[in-house]
Amino acid sequence: MEQEIVSARGLTRKFGAFTAVDHIDFSVRRGEIFGFLGANGAGKTTTIRILCGLLRPTGGTCLVDGLDVDRQAEAVKRLIGYMSQRFSLYEDLTVEENLEFYGGVYGLNEAELGRRKHGLLKELELEGLEKRMTAALPLGWKQRLALGCAVIHRPRMVFLDEPTGGVDPVSRRNFWAMIHAMAAEGVTVFVTTHYMDEAEYCDRISIMDAGRIIALGPPSKLKERYAQATVEDLFSHLLDSSREGSRP
């Protein structure tokens, strides 16, 4: 098995005259936690959507587990899990029903679904809440449930788009403990975040600005290279200099 689970070459996506993703090259290694950072509108969500087969690239190629995301989107979808910014949960269904539904959509059989559901409820600390209506859950719990729905079919790779937005520091730590546990089981995690301390937990990070990747590497190496104490400093430094350079 090859080492890289994602490899993007010259990946580009335009919306009319606007270039959201501008010829980016990167790869994600099997089993790593890959952090995807950038300002709002830098192109992070667009990139994730291309990788998940939700948007077609307008240029370049991208392979996920050796499959072309454009031409083999259906096959790619079987391998991945996706958790969107908006926690795509059905508010009028219970915790359990949400899990069952997503399990069904991925074609899990009854026995497997039952096993997986119970395992996840335990792992996500949602036991005893099976019958709760999703609408009534606090944000931190919804977020955990959304993660559960995204991984119910045991994907090889999960894409998490700002999974911890607006979540308090305690819940965020809990959530990251779960991400680490998943990575320890060999699942590749691709995550975007605006919390720079979370970026420190990643094996490697890439920083995007205006559709381009302006830095990529392990957080410690990048901090060393640009002589910054934290990822937050690194982020500000890189974005400032990137924008300085692009000004006429």
Binding site: G53, R56, K77, R78, Y90, E97, G107
Partner: protein
């Protein structure tokens, strides 16, 4: 193994059951509409005022006017001397029509001529009333003619008026029999299309569709999974409407209920597909609902033959009526309930509906992008 379609259908079923208010609306609204329309759209003719221009002034002509008034459908509101005077009365809307009895009326009757002519002029600005009144008048003429035929010494067996009754079904001439089954067709179309038009658009709004689209599910699976539970609901709505029509308004069920139940899903499928196809191609629930209302309500009411006879429409409208599902279901439901027709008379309409439903669903699946762009 629970299939993907079943998962979707189960989820959709849960959405429906959780939203009690919408569910109640789906059942209560049609009944309210039937009550409203059943009573409000009353096409029955009663005491229609006529100006009588009696040029014959004979016992026979007086008998005719008498019989006419005794029927309760017409009253002789005026006796103007000339046709011109009578026409003035119509223009000023004091009367709704003119009965002209020509001078030779009695002579023609007695001379055993093939026909004795009377002329009934009706205000065509209300074409429905006119049509129905015309039918009534023919009945009265037939009655009068039969009486006179018996009273003539020659004992001619044939009625002296040539009356070709046009009312084949609904001989009681009760418009509610006609309206209520028609309403069933219109309402089912509306309810089905509006219900399903919201489902996919809602998931686009809440962002849950994005999640489903990252799974290996196919568009047709989503569409069918979503249509199935609504098919059950719509069928129940239909049953309630038919029961209501029969028990409340006394609309007869001359044909087989089983046959009606067997072919109705074809129509429901067609209507639900339309809703889901709309939902798949627009972004918001609001647009979806408006579009569903627009594409179902007006055409089904105006062009399907629900109120206005398709036969008397200009050709372009007649062609349009051919692509309106309600046109076919109207024939089916009126046929089975009022005429008591059997499978041999409905299978063709049924086939058209299934075909249309499949075509619409196919277009919907084509339109439904598994991507966000």
């Amino acid at each position: 193994m629970r299939s993907k379609i079943a998962s979707l259908a189960l989820k959709e079923y849960r959405h429906i059951m959780r939203d009690k208010r919408s569910l109640a609306t789906v059942f209560v609204l049609p009944i309210a509409m039937i009550l409203l329309y059943g009573y409000a759209i009353n096409l029955d003719v009663k005491d229609l005022e006529l100006a009588v221009v009696d040029r014959a002034r004979s016992p026979e002509s007086r008998l005719l006017v008498e019989k006419m008034e005794a029927s309760g459908y017409f009253t002789a509101a005026a006796h103007p001397p000339t046709l011109a005077d009578a026409e003035m009365l119509v223009y000023s809307r004091r009367v709704r029509g003119i009965l002209v009895i020509p001078e030779g009326f009695s002579r023609d009757l007695r001379s055993r001529a093939d026909r004795a002519a009377v002329q009934l002029l009706l205000d065509g600005s209300d074409s429905n009333t006119a049509g129905i009144a015309g039918n009534y008048f023919e009945m009265i003429l037939a009655e009068v003619g039969a009486q006179m035929g018996r009273s003539t010494e020659h004992g001619a067996p044939a009625a002296p008026f040539e009356v070709r009754p046009r009312v084949i079904y609904n001989p009681e001439l009760k418009s509610v029999y006609f309206i209520v089954p028609g309403l069933a067709a219109v309402l089912l179309m509306l309810v089905c299309a509006v219900m399903t038009s919201m489902t996919i658009a809602r998931e686009k709004e809440t962002g849950t569709l994005e999640q489903i689209l990252t799974s290996p599910i196919k568009p047709y699976q989503i569409l069918i999974g979503k249509v199935l539970p609504y098919l059950v609901i719509a069928f129940l709505v239909c049953a309630i409407i038919v029961a209501f029509a029969h028990l409340w308004f006394g609309v007869p069920v001359r044909g087989s209920l089983l046959l009606l139940a067997a072919v109705t899903p074809a129509y429901l499928f067609c209507a639900l597909s339309l809703g889901i196809a709309i939902s798949a191609s627009v972004r918001t629930q609001q647009v979806a609902v408006s579009l569903a209302m627009l594409t179902t309500m007006l055409p089904s009411v105006m062009l399907s033959g629900f109120i206005f006879r398709v036969g008397s429409m200009p050709l372009p409208l007649r062609l349009i009526s051919k692509v309106i599902p309600a046109t076919y279901y109207l024939k089916i439901i009126r046929g089975i309930m009022l005429k008591g027709v059997g499978w041999e008379h409905v299978w063709q309409h049924c086939a058209v509906l299934v075909g249309m439903g499949l075509l619409i669903l196919l277009i919907g699946a084509r339109k439904f992008s598994t991507r966000l762009d």
